[in-house]
Symmetry: C2
C-alpha cells in the first residue's frame, strides 16, 4: 500500500483555489508540503472548472493527465464519484482516498457497493469513503480538509488542527474527527506522529491490512486504534496478533452502550457488537485496551519510551504519602501487584537510613515514602535499590516538586538510577505550574514518560505490564 503512503504521484480530484472548500484545503496541503520538500511526488489538480490551481496546470480528468498516477484523492460530490473512479481505473491509478460522504453512513449502500465494484474490477484500492484520509508526517501526504490555522474573532491567527512533527506513532481511526482531535492532542504533548489514517466507512481497506502494513514500516513503533466496530473479526485477529509480536497496539473501542452503539451505526455504519467479544479478541491478540481517551494517549506514550514489563510486581517510590496511596489503589485495581518488599531490599533501605542517605522516618514498605523532606539525591539512592531487586518488575516514581528539598535536578537523579536497565520506570508530578510542566517534559526528553496524576501513571504502567505478559505468554505457548 505504498501508493497511499509514499505515492510518486497524486491527483486531487475536486481540487479548487477556494480555500473554504475541502478541495482547496487538501490541494493547498500538498502544494505547501511540495514547496517545503516534504512531499516529493508529482502533484496534479483535477477539476474541469479550472485551467490552473495555485499555478499548477489543472486537468479536466485523471485520464487526461497522460502520465502515471499512483493515487487519487476524491473530493467531488457523491453522485460524481463513480465516474471519477471509472476514469481513474482506465488511467491505471492504484489507490483512491475517497473523502466524499453520502454513502452507507446515510443508508446509501448501493452507491457504496458500486464504488467498490469499480475499484475491484480495476484493481484499485480504496480508503474511505466518508473519511479524512491520510496524514503522513514522513511523506507529506495530507488529505485532511481541516485547515491548520484559523482566525479568531479577535483577529489573531492560531493553530486549529496542527500537523504534528515526525515520530513513531500511527493512529488508525474510524472517526475522522477523533483523528483530527488526536493530532491536536499529540502535538501539544510533543508526541511525534508517523501517520494518521481515517478509515470512514471502510468500503475496502480496513484495520487488518493497515496493521500489517505498519508492522513492516520501519518508522512505526506504536499503533493506536480507534474502533467502533470490526467487520472481519478473523482477519483483524490474525493481523493484530502478528503485529503485537513486534509492536504494541493500544485500542479504544467505543459503542459499548446502547446509545453509543446506535450512534456508531449512524456515524460510520459500524456494528459495535458485544463488548465482551472485543475484550477477549484484544486479549488474545495482545492489544492493550484503553478505557478512555486520556488513557489511550497515556499508554501510547508509555510504549514510546519504556520497555514492556517482565511481570506485574510494582514498587512505588514517592515523596508524597497521599499520591502514593492513589497509585497503589489504581495499580491493584488494574490487577498489578504492589508487593511487599523482599527482606534483602528492606535491609538495604534500612542501611541507607542508618547511613543518613534516606530519612530515618521514611516508610520502607511499598509504597516507599521518602517523606516530604526528602532531597532529589534520596530519590536516586532509593531507586537504585528498587531497580536492582529482581522481585520488582517496574517502578512508579512520584516526585512532587512542591516540597522544599526537591528541585528540578530530581529528573537527572531518577534517570541516573534507571537509564541502563531494561526495567520500566514511569514518573508522576502533579500540577500545571511552569515547574510541573518543566519537570514532566524533562523526564520525557530523557525517555521516562511522566504523568499528571498518580492514577494516570498507574494505568500507563498497566499497559506495559499487560503487553509484557502477552509477549511472555506467546514465548511460552506460541501464538493464539
Amino acid at each position: 500500500m505504498d501508493f497511499f503512503f509514499k505515492p510518486s504521484s497524486v491527483a486531487i480530484v475536486g481540487a479548487s483555489p477556494v480555500l473554504t472548500k475541502a478541495g482547496g484545503v487538501i490541494f493547498q496541503n500538498f502544494v505547501h508540503n511540495k514547496q517545503h520538500d516534504l512531499f516529493t511526488g508529482e502533484l496534479y489538480p483535477v477539476n474541469p472548472t479550472y485551467e490552473s490551481v495555485f499555478d499548477f496546470k489543472c486537468y479536466p480528468s485523471v485520464s487526461s493527465i497522460g502520465k502515471p498516477v499512483d493515487c487519487i484523492v476524491v473530493v467531488v460530490p457523491a453522485n460524481a464519484v463513480c465516474s471519477v473512479l471509472e476514469d481513474s481505473v482506465r488511467g491505471g491509478v492504484k489507490g483512491a482516498v475517497i473523502i466524499t460522504s453520502g454513502f452507507s453512513e446515510i443508508g446509501n449502500h448501493d452507491l457504496e457497493a458500486k464504488v467498490l465494484e469499480i475499484a475491484k474490477k480495476g484493481n484499485m484500492r480504496i480508503i474511505g469513503p466518508n473519511c479524512l484520509g491520510v496524514y503522513d508526517a514522513w511523506s507529506g501526504v495530507d488529505t485532511l480538509f481541516l485547515p491548520e490555522n484559523k482566525i479568531l474573532s479577535t483577529g489573531r491567527e492560531v493553530v486549529a488542527t496542527p500537523r504534528p512533527v515526525r515520530g513513531p506513532i500511527v493512529l488508525i481511526s474510524q472517526s475522522g474527527a477523533l483523528g483530527a482531535a488526536a493530532l491536536d492532542y499529540m502535538a501539544g504533548r510533543a508526541m511525534g506522529v508517523r501517520a494518521l489514517v481515517s478509515l470512514g466507512n471502510r468500503a475496502d481497506v480496513a484495520e487488518d491490512e493497515l496493521l500489517r502494513y505498519f508492522r513492516n514500516d520501519e518508522w512505526t513503533r506504536v499503533i493506536l486504534l480507534y474502533i467502533e466496530g470490526i467487520r472481519n473479526g478473523r482477519a483483524f485477529l490474525e493481523a493484530a496478533s502478528s503485529v503485537s509480536l513486534v509492536k504494541p497496539i493500544v485500542a479504544i473501542k467505543v459503542g459499548r452502550s446502547s446509545s453509543g452503539a446506535r450512534a456508531a451505526a449512524s456515524h460510520t455504519a459500524a456494528m459495535s457488537g458485544q463488548d465482551e467479544v472485543y475484550e477477549s479478541a484484544f486479549e488474545l491478540s495482545g492489544i492493550v485496551r484503553a478505557r478512555n481517551l486520556d488513557e489511550f494517549f497515556d499508554m501510547g506514550r508509555a510504549f514510546l519510551y519504556q520497555p514492556p514489563a517482565k511481570g506485574n510486581r510494582v514498587a512505588i517510590l514517592t515523596n508524597a504519602g497521599g499520591p502514593g496511596v492513589m497509585a497503589a489503589d489504581t495499580l491493584e485495581e488494574s490487577g498489578l501487584s504492589v508487593v511487599e518488599l523482599s527482606g534483602e531490599t528492606k535491609s538495604k533501605l534500612e542501611r541507607l537510613k542508618a547511613e543518613g542517605k534516606i530519612l530515618p522516618y521514611a516508610s520502607i514498605r511499598n509504597p516507599v515514602d521518602l517523606s516530604g523532606t526528602a532531597t532529589s539525591q534520596m530519590f536516586e539512592t532509593a531507586l537504585r535499590v528498587l531497580v536492582d531487586d529482581d522481585e520488582i518488575d517496574a517502578v512508579l516514581v512520584i516526585t512532587l516538586h512542591h516540597t522544599p528539598a526537591v528541585l528540578d535536578d530530581v529528573v537527572g537523579k531518577v534517570i541516573h538510577a534507571c537509564y541502563d536497565r531494561r526495567k520500566p520506570v514511569i514518573a508522576c508530578d502533579i500540577g500545571s505550574t511552569e515547574m510541573a510542566e518543566e519537570i514532566r517534559s524533562r523526564f520525557e526528553k530523557l525517555r521516562v514518560p511522566a504523568y499528571t496524576t498518580p492514577e494516570r501513571a498507574a494505568r500507563a504502567l498497566y499497559a506495559l505490564v499487560t503487553y509484557g505478559k502477552y509477549l511472555e505468554h506467546v514465548k511460552k505457548h506460541g501464538l493464539l
Copy 2:
C-alpha cells in the same frame, strides 16, 4: 473556628529568618500577606534564638508577647511541642496549627495524646499535627512551608507551589502533599480557592467540624474532600448530610486496595476501612465520589458553574461522531440515560433540516450529530430545541473546533442558547492547541465548564446528576 481562618493575631512559634527552614517560609508568607494588606491581623514571631525576624520583634515564648493571641502556628521539633502548648494555653491562645511531624504517624501515640490533653484542658483547638495547616486565600493565613517560587538549575525562577486566587472552592485534605498539588492543579485552571486545610493526623479537629464551618461560610460554594480514613463515622455522616443540603461535596477516598490501606496507615495513621462502607456513607449524605484526581477537580468545576440536574436524562449535541459515541458510553456506564428524543423534539429538528437551519444529513437521534460541516450557528439552533425539551435534564455539547465551519464564535452561540435556563450544560473540545485552550477557557469564563475529553465531560455531568438526585430525594423523603 474563626480563630483559624480569620485570626486577629497569630504567633509563629519557631519563626526563623532562614528561608530554607519551614519556620522561615511560613513567617515570610504572613509578612508578605501583611505587606499586601491581605493578612490584617497582628503577627508575632516566637523563637528564643532571635531578637527580631524580618524587622518584627521576636519573642522568646507566646506568653511573653503580653497581648492576646488568637492562633499559633507551631514549627518546633516534636519534643518541644508540649511545652509550647502549655505556655500558649496560659496565654489564652484559642487555636494551634501544629505543622511538626513525629507523632502517631510514626507510632508516637503517647506524645500525641499528651498534646491533645494539654489542648483540651486549656480549651484550645488543634489542627494537625503532621500537616501543612491552612491556606486561606481570603484572610491571608498561609501556614504552608512550601515556597511559592523555586530556582531551576538553569537559573530561572519559576512558580513551584502557587497560591491560587480567591474563589469559592474549599479543599479539606488528609494529605498535605495532595493539598499542595491541588493548589498547583487549580491555579493552572483558573479555579479560585476559598481555603485549603491540611489535617494531618487529626488529633483534634477533623472533617466533620470543618464541613460545618464551611457550610456557614459565605465565600464557600463547593467543598472538595480528600480522605484516607474517617474516625468518627457518625459525626462525619451528620455533618456531610447537613452540608450537602446547601453546598455540594466531592470526595476522593483512597486506601481502597490492601497496599493502599497499608500506606495510608503509615502516612497519616488512618484506618482506611471497608470501601463499601464509605461508598454507602457518601451516598447517604449526598457526597459525590470521584474515582480519580482528574475527576475530583473536574467535578468541582462543574459544581462551580452549573446547577444540579433535575433528572438523569441527557442529550448529547456534537459535530463529531466518534467523540459523541464516547460521551454516550461513559454517560450510560455511569448510570445516566442517553434518551431517545421525544417525537416533538424530533419534529422540531426535522423542521430545522427542512428550513436548512441544520444539515440534511445531521443525525437527529441522541447523540444529535450535526456533522463535520456544521456551523457555529447550527449549534445554537439545535441546542435551543434540546434545552426546551422537558424530557431532557442536561446537555453535553461537543464542539470540536477542527472542522472548517466551527470558529471560536461557537462559544457565544452555545451560551446564547442556554444561559437563561436552570438546566446544566457541559462542554467539550479536544486538543492542546491555542485554539482548543481558547475555546475551553472562554466557555468557563461564561460559566459553562469545558473538558478536554468526552469521557471527562460525561463524568462531570454525572456529578451534577448525582447531586441533583440527592436533593430531590431529600426534598421528598427528608434527611437520611
